[in-house]
Amino acid sequence: MRRKGNGYYILRALPGIFMLLILFLIPLSLNFSYAFKDNGRALIEIFTDSYTLHLLRFTLTEAILSALISVLAALPFAAFFSAYRFPLRRTVLTLSGLSFTIPTILVVLGFVIWYGNNGLLNAFLMKILGRDYSVIYVLYSFKAIILAHVYLNFPIAFLLITNAWTGMSDSQEKASYTLGKGKLKTFLVITLPRLRGAIIAAFILIFLYCFSSFAIILVLGGNPAFSTFETEIYRRVHVNVDREGAAALSLFSFFITGILLIITSRTRSVKKAERRERRLKKAEGKSLIAAVFIILMILLFILPPMLSIVYRAFFTKAGDFTLRAWEDIARKSTGFSSSAILAIINSFLIALTSSLFAVLLGSRIALATAKTGSRILPVLSSLPMAAGSVTLGLGFSLLAVTVEHDSLFFSYMLVIASHLIIVLPFAVRTIIPGAEAIPSSLAKASYTLGISRGKTVRKVENPLLSSYKRKAFAFAFALSLGEVNATLTLSDGHVTTLPILIYRMIGSYNYQGAAALGTLLLLEALIVFIIGEGGKKHAVS
């Protein structure tokens, strides 16, 4: 359904679309050229290999399950958070976005420190139950893969669905109650269809994220049978030096995620102008107890692996307090003290710049999507995610090779651009539900008052997006903060960020130092989140 007179919105979105196309087409065309080398020999080989099918089956299973469970787990919490207001509500929402910032290696470490067979949780349970052997064996199994994926992605589903839900008037639900329908039936038949847009958005983001995950799958799965496309692509890129095969594989996986994106883009959320946001009830009595319980549950799920990293930054495996890791960072002789400070500043500036641009461009794309009812735009804006990190990485390395650049400034620009393309899909997907909730009559009302289109967007429509933009910013910032590969590839190692420093620390056996740097990373994210949340209070949630 294309509506007239919205060319202006497309025009506004053009810089973002342009950016997406440029930064996306480069890796894609590179892949095409490699995949089709020698008359597509590599492609034929991939398609005829039964192992590809095995990989496909496992990757789909793992990604769909992770996405499904993350969404299902998030729903009851989102339901509660969109019904009640209570102390710490915003804090919990903020904290849940933190897990995004941690580089994969630290997530793995945090999981091992906490859930490991000799981890803190087991030590704690052994003490309580008086046993001298590990109580829970959750790691190194398929369960562990799902647990870690849900851990990393629960916040996406939780934040997106809560955001959409709180922005939805509850009169339809009330109508259903008065028609004698119970809470469950009303939820399934009335609320769920209304949340469909947000649920699908969350599902897609998580699916794509898990589709290209492999470190977590290999380490925590504990079995090479648990291999994804990315494992195979990585092997071909980094070990076999088989770029043609890697390109063919990544093209194939891109094809699959692309199809999925197109299918889901057809089922758009039912749009109905509603700006009558629900009034959140104050949690009292029973619901307050429930709130406490729910907060505890979320915190107990989200915090321990992160706090485990903080714990390890101060305590040795034996449990002795030590500041050695911090001394390692601060010691002048290693040149570490200056790198650490520089890395904090770099991480901050790169994340800030790329996420600000992502929100700026992303909100324009989202608004254009909502205004024109376009199906192409959301698909287009998700393509970089569908392409997967390795494909993008391949493209970036080509970029690094082809673009002659002698200045560090240019390195920074490249890094920021690459981060932008990585976080932009998240930003767009986060803002679209908000843009779709804006009644079209608002803009018309503004035009009749003689206000220009630009001012209408600025004064009328943009303020309505502010809560969505803030969420998008938090996501983008967290993602960018944890990014490693593109930064390394594009800056020739001249731009050192915190996660890069973490990997290097680990490379020299200093896991405790890495945990200390991880603590700094979390702290940095936390401060930015708190500042971001503290800004404007008039918006939802």
Binding site: G221, H238, V241, L488, Y509
Partner: protein, 335 residues
């Protein structure tokens, strides 16, 4: 408009950092893997030293891991800026040869014959390491004395392995076992037993060793030099490298001069510098043995036992490697 202002400020803040790293065009360009080129890697102190001594300025490029660096050389071809590449391993050396020039440096005479994998001296070894299992001597288990000991049932879920598809260390073990057991059934038997004894098969050395230091399992695939860190920084000899009588797989890192460089003389000086003065710093930073035997190592290296017998990964053809990986995958995934 406020946002635009913030962006402007952000960009302005980056500018001074940018100025600091401006690159001179007449410098010697060296491609190295990340961990060498980082500020606090060996380059942090070595490069300034070299520049001071010779007056040659160096533009150090951190080109990813060893394979990525190789890919980059291949992609760039003749148009590459690189004058010297540092850190190509012996197993991938054959891919780098077409892009390198021979350099018969007199300094290389101190390098033992068995390390010199290129007869034409296009790649000159500057350090080497040997893969080994590292174990926690306080875990209460019997010390495994040989590679075949590891397959004993008492080590069930006690060993952390690494996937050869995603890690050079993992690949190292695969080739190691192949070099010992050959094409026979023994190779398969060993891996089938290890499938039971492996707690997990990590994606890379970093997560594997992290799991090990967290106490998830007492035995991990790593290097013979791994205990050095624990001795030097944690003052403990608890973690020990296991030297097996069957021999060990070695990985040798080489440095070479890029074909067609217009800075041949400077490049030679740099290679010589790496093979002499830089040896100790590199060895300590990389936890490797220096290729130059004249170098005296710190005491902590006493805990990095040199295996008597070394296999060279470069001896296995790439086709064989792929075949082995596929065979390995089959063994590990069949029920």
């Amino acid at each position: 408009m406020k946002k635009a202002l913030i962006l402007l400020l952000a960009v302005a803040a980056i500018m001074p950092l940018a100025a600091e790293g401006a690159v001179e065009s007449d410098a010697l360009t060296v491609y190295a893997y990340d961990s060498f080129a980082s500020d606090w890697g060996p380059a942090g102190t070595l490069i300034p030293k070299f520049e001071e001594e010779t007056g040659i300025s160096v533009n150090l490029v951190s080109a990813g891991d060893a394979v990525e660096m190789l890919s980059r050389i291949e992609l760039e071809g003749d148009g590459t800026d690189a004058d010297v590449v540092l850190g190509i391993t012996d197993d991938f050396a054959y891919r780098a040869y077409p892009y390198l020039e021979s350099y018969d440096t007199p300094v290389a005479q101190t390098i033992p014959e068995e390390l010199r994998f290129d007869s034409e001296n296009r790649l000159i070894p500057f350090d080497y390491g040997a893969f080994a299992f590292v174990w926690d001597s306080e875990c209460g288990l019997d010390k495994p004395e040989s590679l075949s000991d590891l397959t004993k049932p008492e080590y069930k879920d006690k060993v952390i392995l690494i996937d050869p598809r995603t890690s050079s260390v993992g690949l190292g073990l695969l080739l190691w076992t192949y070099n010992i057991y050959g094409d026979g059934d023994e190779f398969e038997t060993w891996w089938e037993a290890m499938k039971e004894n492996a707690l997990t098969i990590a994606d890379g050395w970093s997560s594997a060793y992290g799991l090990f230091t967290e106490g998830e399992a007492p035995i991990v695939l790593s290097y013979t030099t791994s205990p050095v860190y624990h001795v030097m920084n944690e003052n403990t000899t608890r973690y020990q490298a296991l030297v097996f009588p069957e021999g060990h797989e070695a990985t040798i890192e080489g440095i070479g001069i890029v074909k067609g460089t217009d800075k041949r003389a400077e490049a030679e000086k740099f290679v010589d510098f790496i093979l002499t003065e830089a040896q100790l710093d590199i060895a300590i930073a990389n936890s490797m043995y220096p290729a130059n035997t004249a170098i005296e190592l710190p005491d902590a290296f006493d805990y990095a036992p040199k295996p008597d017998k070394l296999f060279r990964s470069g001896a296995t053809s790439p086709e064989k490697t792929e075949e082995l990986t596929d065979q390995w995958l089959q063994i590990m995934t069949e029920n």
